[in-house]
Symmetry: C2
Subunit: 352 residues, 2 copies
Amino acid sequence: MPTRMANPGKTKMTQRRIAELAGVSQATVSLVLNGKADAEVRIPASTRQRVLDVIAGTSYVADPAARRLAGVGNKILGVFTYEPAFPSASIDFYTPLLTGIEAEAEKLGCDLLVFTSAPVENSRRRLFHENNRLGLADGALLLGREMDPVELQRLVAMDFPFVAIGRRDVDGVPYVGVDYATGTALLARRAYDLGHRRFALLHLDSTGESGLDRQRGFHDELATHPDARVWTGPATSGNLAPIWRSIRDFAPTVVFVESPEHAAELARIARDDGVEIPRDLSVVVLGEVAVPDALATDFTRLSPPRVRLGAEAVILLSRMLDPDDEPAPAELRRLLDCGIADGATLVAPVTA
Amino acid sequence: MPTRMANPGKTKMTQRRIAELAGVSQATVSLVLNGKADAEVRIPASTRQRVLDVIAGTSYVADPAARRLAGVGNKILGVFTYEPAFPSASIDFYTPLLTGIEAEAEKLGCDLLVFTSAPVENSRRRLFHENNRLGLADGALLLGREMDPVELQRLVAMDFPFVAIGRRDVDGVPYVGVDYATGTALLARRAYDLGHRRFALLHLDSTGESGLDRQRGFHDELATHPDARVWTGPATSGNLAPIWRSIRDFAPTVVFVESPEHAAELARIARDDGVEIPRDLSVVVLGEVAVPDALATDFTRLSPPRVRLGAEAVILLSRMLDPDDEPAPAELRRLLDCGIADGATLVAPVTA
DNA sequence: CTGAAAGCGCTTACAG
DNA sequence: CTGAAAGCGCTTACAG
C-alpha cells in the first residue's frame, strides 16, 4: 500500500525558495513562470531574467498538485478502460487505440492517467468508486466495448469533460466512433451485387452500440432488396456447432460474422462439414482481426481505423478543454468512415 | 492545449459541504474519512455514521490534488518509457511489461500516470523537463532499453522512489532485471556440450546493461573452455550482408545473435548463401521474439519473463512506498531467472 | 511595476 | 470527544 511521501525529509524546491534566492516575492516567481509577466502584468525584463536564471540553476518544477488545486489545468488526460486493457483477451482491442492516444498525447504535451485502480466487478471496471482519481485529470477518455449508461449520464451531469471511444446512445455524451452501419451496408450491398440472395448474420450476444450499428446497417441495406432472404442469430460463447447447424439449415450463400474469432471457428466447423470457403459459402467479418496471423484466412472484413480513432478522441478532448475552442455539436459526436479489407472470402455464389 | 478546468461553474462536493449537511466540522469529516476516527481520535459512532450517511448520499470523492498537497500518498505510480511505448517499433518490447504492471497495479489499487508529455530528443524521452508531473506520483517505474545515467543519479539524489526495469549500473538505483548473463552462459554451455567449438556473437551496437550482460555471460562461459574459438561483432543497423561475410569467413558452427530481428535477417541471408540452418549452422537468439509468428523460424532463444518483470517492479515499488516495509538491499537490486526456449535451431554440429 | 493576501480542498497536530 | 487553525505550493485578483 503505497502511502509514504516522496522525498521525505529533503527540502523541496518551491517558488518561495526561488523567490528568496532571486530577491523577489513568491508571487512574482509565479507570474514569471506563467508567462503572465509579458501581458497583463508588467515585470521588468531584468527582474524576470533574474528569476529565470535562478530557476535554471535549480531543478525546480511547479508542484502539479498545487497547480491543480489552485485551479489550472494539468494537461493530464484520464484513460479509463471498462475491461482491463492489457490482459491478453482485450489487448488486441486496446493496443491500436492506445497507440493513437499515446502519439497524440505526446504531440499535445499531455500525460495520461490510467485508472487501473477502478474495482473490477463481473469483469468490468466501475468508474465511480471511493477515491477515484478522476478529478486529477483535466478530462478523460473512455474505452470499452460496452459502457455503463448510468455512469455516462453521471459524467454528463457533472459536466466533467470526457470523450467516449465508440458511438454511445446516451444523451450528451461526446464520442468519436466508427460508422459500422455504413461499412456493413456497403459489404452487404457488395455481396448482393455479386449475386448473393441468402444472407446469414451471426452477431455477438451483446447490446453494445457498435453491434447494433452493424445489425442495422445489415438489415437496412437488405431491406432495400426484396429478393434477399435473411437469417439472424446470436453467437453464444463457446461451442458454435449448434448454431452452425441452424445456419446450414437455412443454406445461405454468404454469412456475415461479427467477431473475427467466431468467423475463424465457424470456418473451421464448416470445412469439417465439407463446406469449402469461399466456393460454397462466402464469409464476411464485421470486425478487424487484431494481429494478422500469416496462417489464417484472409477474410473479407471491416477494417475500422482504430489508431486514428484514439488520436481523434484525444484531439476532440483537448479541444473541449481549450477555453478558446468550442467544438460544434456535430464535432462532439462523430463517426469515422470504416475501412474495408477486400480479403478473399467474399466471391460470387456458384448457385447465382 | 487543455487548460480549462473540469466542472466549471457547478458547485463541487467538498468536505466542507458534507460537514454542513452532517452538522459537524470539516475536520471531523476528514477524520471519519481517513479512518482515524477509530484509533487516536475518538469520534462517537453516531457522529461517524451520520457523516458516512451523508457521504453515501452524495457523489463525494476526496480531491486527489488536495490530498497530495496535504502530504498523503495518492496511490499513483508514474510510468516513464524512454522510448515512446506504443508506436510499433517498441510495442512488442513494452506490451508484456505493461501487462504485468497493469495487472499488479490493479491488485494494489493504484493508478498509473504515464508520462507521455516528456519531450522526445533523438527518439528518446527526457524525464526531467519543465512542468514534468513526476511529483504527482508517489513513485515511478522506468522502462527502456537504455536510460540516461545522469537522470538516474538525479532521481537517486532527489530521493524520489523509483524502480528501473532492467539492471542498471548506476549506484543506488533500485531495479528488477533479468539475469541475461546466466541465461546466455547456459546457452553457450549447451552449445559447447553439443560439440560446438567455433562461436560467433553478433551483438547490438549499444552500451545498454542488458547487452553487456549477455556478452559477459557469453565470454565468461567460453573462457572456461580453452578449445572454444570466438568471433564477436556488432550489428550495425540496416544491411547485415557485410557482417555475414565476416561471420562466414570465421566459419563458426554456431552463431549467437542478440536481436531476434537480426537473427531472422541473418538466417535469410545465410540460406540465400546456401547455408542450411541448423544443419550447417546453429543459431541462438538472446532475446525473445515478441509476437510469435507461426511462419517464422522457431529459434533456440532466451525467453525473459517480461510480464513478471513488470509485476515484480510494481511490487518492489509499492514496498518502497510502504512506510511499514523496508526492502533489504538485495531486494532493491534483483535479477529474475531468464527462461530458455529450446526451439529448433541449436543442434550438434556435423563437423563435431 | 511588485508585494501581501485570499483561496483551492485536504490532513493533522493542537486547543478546548 | 470535536472544533478552530495552520499549512501543503500554487494562482490570481487586489492593493499599493
